[in-house]
């Protein structure tokens, strides 16, 4: 493994690939820093450009963008009180008060280094956990795969913002969107409603660009509340190594929480940073400082949200299950290059696995260096007008989607899914279960039907095989957990009510 990893570092450090990794990270930081733009949008928009590239080159660019966008959100969280991405939500609570006290540079520097630390811990988890997990996943047959996908979807729907009903509804809609086209088992056409162009189903990239980028850009046209922008004061106190040594347990704990949350399918950085923040507050000697400019809060939130990246890549490369929304797009990138993520990836395309590992570490290094050096320049991004960004990016969306198959039908599909994304925002339906349902349905369907055909229609196969049974029980527990919480609350409020 060491030799392969070192060889992969060699590839990533070749001038052309490294330049793309640096470009990706810089673009990611810029997109993360500008409110309204996000990493999902950037990665989806860049994907069509990578079609003709070598897979490792594409991975370098996309992983750089992924890492940069999560870290870049810190800047607007600190200077505008607007999180660049949902995962920077907890950072605003303490970074903004620090900035108001004239410590904006210090808050940003602490956040940047904490992001790097989180990235480093999750990289170690990726390197050491992926191979045994992939070996374990080799034991999976169709029943196990179906049960795994089902439990992943149940978890995503349960942990999504809003009600369980809305999470499940969004997931079901995503699964339905994946149905049109040729059936993979019998090659029959279904749900095309007479449109010949739908025989291949909805183009994945058109769906992703529509739902992430187009819906966001259209809603960005609405006038925004004018935000207070804090400028970087000169001569503010810089960070020292002792600042981090004092907080070593907080950093380690938060990074481990972030990594673990990242491994859970579709949960993402926002939950990771909330859990790490809550944990740091409960363990702190000065919990009363949280929310008023606590350095511990900034470190916990930022280390955790960056740690989710490495964690989220683990289930993606070992089982083909996306750990986050951006991982869905990374799976699309691999699929375009005829690479199927999953346990066999370690044998069929080991260079891709080690490519993810090496590019993740290098992207984190590039991110920390770039952000520390270009901090003052990045702060100026807060003033880039939306009026220029919105039409420019929409044109890129159209051309990027058209480039996939050179047909305008995909562009109309993109626009339709942009409207779906807008409707989801309006109806407060979470987008994560939708896109993950969309990408996992073909895997779930093929494995469900293969398992049933092989076992002559015996449904108990999903419960009698140990690994599948565990996943099925987990799926049921995930779905029942909110109901149990609701009943406990009802019983609690009834017993607390005066008689």
């Amino acid at each position: 493994m060491t030799a392969e990893l070192l060889s992969s570092f060699g590839t990533m450090l070749s001038p052309g690939v490294l330049a793309l990794l640096v470009l990706g990270t810089v673009l990611g930081v810029v997109f993360g820093a500008i409110p309204g733009l996000n990493g999902g949008m950037l990665v989806a928009l860049s994907l069509p450009l990578t079609f003709g590239w070598h897979p490792l080159t594409a991975i370098a660019l996309l992983i750089g963008q992924y890492v940069g966008s999560i870290a870049g959100g810190l800047i607007s969280a600190t200077l505008l009180n607007i999180p660049g991405s949902p995962s920077n939500m907890m950072t605003t609570l303490d970074a903004m008060p620090m900035a108001r006290r004239g410590q904006a540079v210090r808050a940003l520097q602490l956040g940047i280094v904490a992001s790097f630390f989180g990235g480093l811990v999750s990289w170690l988890a990726l390197v050491f956990l992926s191979p045994p997990l992939a070996t374990f996943a080799l034991r999976f047959g169709p029943p196990e795969y179906f049960a795994l996908v089902l439990s992943a979807m149940a978890l995503i729907a349960t942990l999504s913002a809003g009600s369980l009903t809305r999470g499940l509804l969004a997931g079901a809609l995503g699964m339905i969107a994946a149905l049109p086209g040729l059936d993979q088992v019998t090659a029959q056409t279904r749900l095309t409603f007479g449109f010949g162009q739908m025989a291949g189903g909805f183009e994945l990239l058109a769906v992703l660009i529509g739902i992430f980028a187009v819906s966001q850009l259209i809603s960005d046209a609405r006038p925004q509340r004018t935000a207070e922008i804090i400028t970087l004061a000169k001569g503010s106190r810089s960070i020292r190594i002792s600042d981090f040594l004092r907080q070593k347990w907080n950093l380690l704990r938060s990074s481990l929480i972030g990594t673990w949350v990242g491994i859970l399918p579709g949960v993402g950085g926002s939950v990771g940073s909330i859990m790490a923040y809550a944990s740091a507050r409960s363990m702190s000697r000065t919990p009363e400082q949280f929310g008023k400019g606590s350095e511990e809060g900034v470190l916990a939130s930022e280390s955790a949200n960056n740690a989710t990246i490495g964690g989220a890549i683990i289930p993606m490369i070992t089982m083909g299950i996306p750990g986050s929304i951006i991982d869905v797009i990374l799976i699309a990138a691999l699929t375009v290059h005829d690479i199927r993520p999953g346990p066999l990836l370690f044998q069929s395309n080991p260079e891709v696995v080690y490519g993810f590992m090496s590019s993740l570490l290098l992207a984190n290094i590039v991110m920390v260096v770039f952000m520390l050096v270009a901090l003052r320049w990045l702060a100026r991004l807060m003033t880039v007008p939306k009026s220029v960004l919105v039409p420019t990016l929409l044109v890129c969306c159209i051309l990027g989607t058209y480039a996939v198959n050179n047909r305008l039908f995909d562009v109309w599909v993109m626009l339709a899914f942009g409207l779906v994304g807008l409707a989801f925002r309006g109806l407060k339906l979470p987008i994560a279960p939708f896109v993950i349902g969309f990408i996992l349905t073909p895997i779930a369907e093929v494995n469900l039907r293969s398992a049933l055909i092989a076992n002559e229609g015996d449904w108990t196969i999903f419960f009698t095989r140990p690994i599948a049974g565990v996943f099925m029980v987990l799926a049921i527990l995930f779905l029942l957990a909110p109901l149990a919480g609701y009943l406990r609350k009802r019983l609690g409020s009834r017993s607390a009510a005066p008689t």
Partner: protein, 168 residues
């Protein structure tokens, strides 16, 4: 309170639309004929299941929405209304996403029917959107025309010349 009541009506309508979609998907799954290699778990299995699940979830959403709607319109439980000075600027610009969407559709229709060259329509689209978002004025005109020109040239070079993506 008015916006809350509007919100639950939209959600109720959406729930009904999801139910109809569920019925359509269920029916589309049901009419798929069995193929020669069908073993009882054919192409219609998942559409039928998912159609049924969607109908059930949409009914639950409708129930949740109606309960929330009753609370929103009941003066004893309704949350206080937002002050006008916060709501009005957002409402004033509420037409802008719709106008942007219309411009986008016009550009795509043009690409479909080739009325004017695609990259000319790109320049016009960018120019119009910037003016719409910035408001009319000398400065906005300068920004809109320069950004429209520069962006179109860059996009043309990158997509049409470098990546050979040619619309039309």
């Amino acid at each position: 309170m008015a916006s809350l009541s509007w919100q639950w009506r939209v959600e109720a309508l959406a729930a009904v639309a999801f139910m109809i979609l569920g019925v359509v998907v269920w029916h589309a799954g049901d009419v798929i004929p069995p193929s020669f290699m069908d073993t009882g778990f054919g192409a219609g299995l998942l559409p039928k299941w998912l159609g049924g699940v969607l109908i059930l979830l949409a009914a639950l959403l409708l129930l949740e929405t109606m309960t929330a709607g009753r609370r929103a319109t009941d003066p004893r439980t309704a949350p206080p209304a937002e002050p006008d000075h916060e709501a009005s600027p957002r409402l004033r610009g509420a037409w802008k996403p719709g106008a942007l969407l219309l411009l986008l559709v016009l550009m795509l229709v043009n690409a479909d029917y080739q009325l004017i060259p695609f990259y000319l329509s790109v320049a016009i689209f960018i120019f119009a959107v910037i003016l719409m978002l910035e408001g009319l004025g000398k400065k906005a005109l300068v920004i809109a025309s320069s950004v429209a020109f520069a962006t179109t040239v860059v996009v043309w070079i990158v997509f049409s010349q470098l990546f050979m993506v040619i619309i039309q």
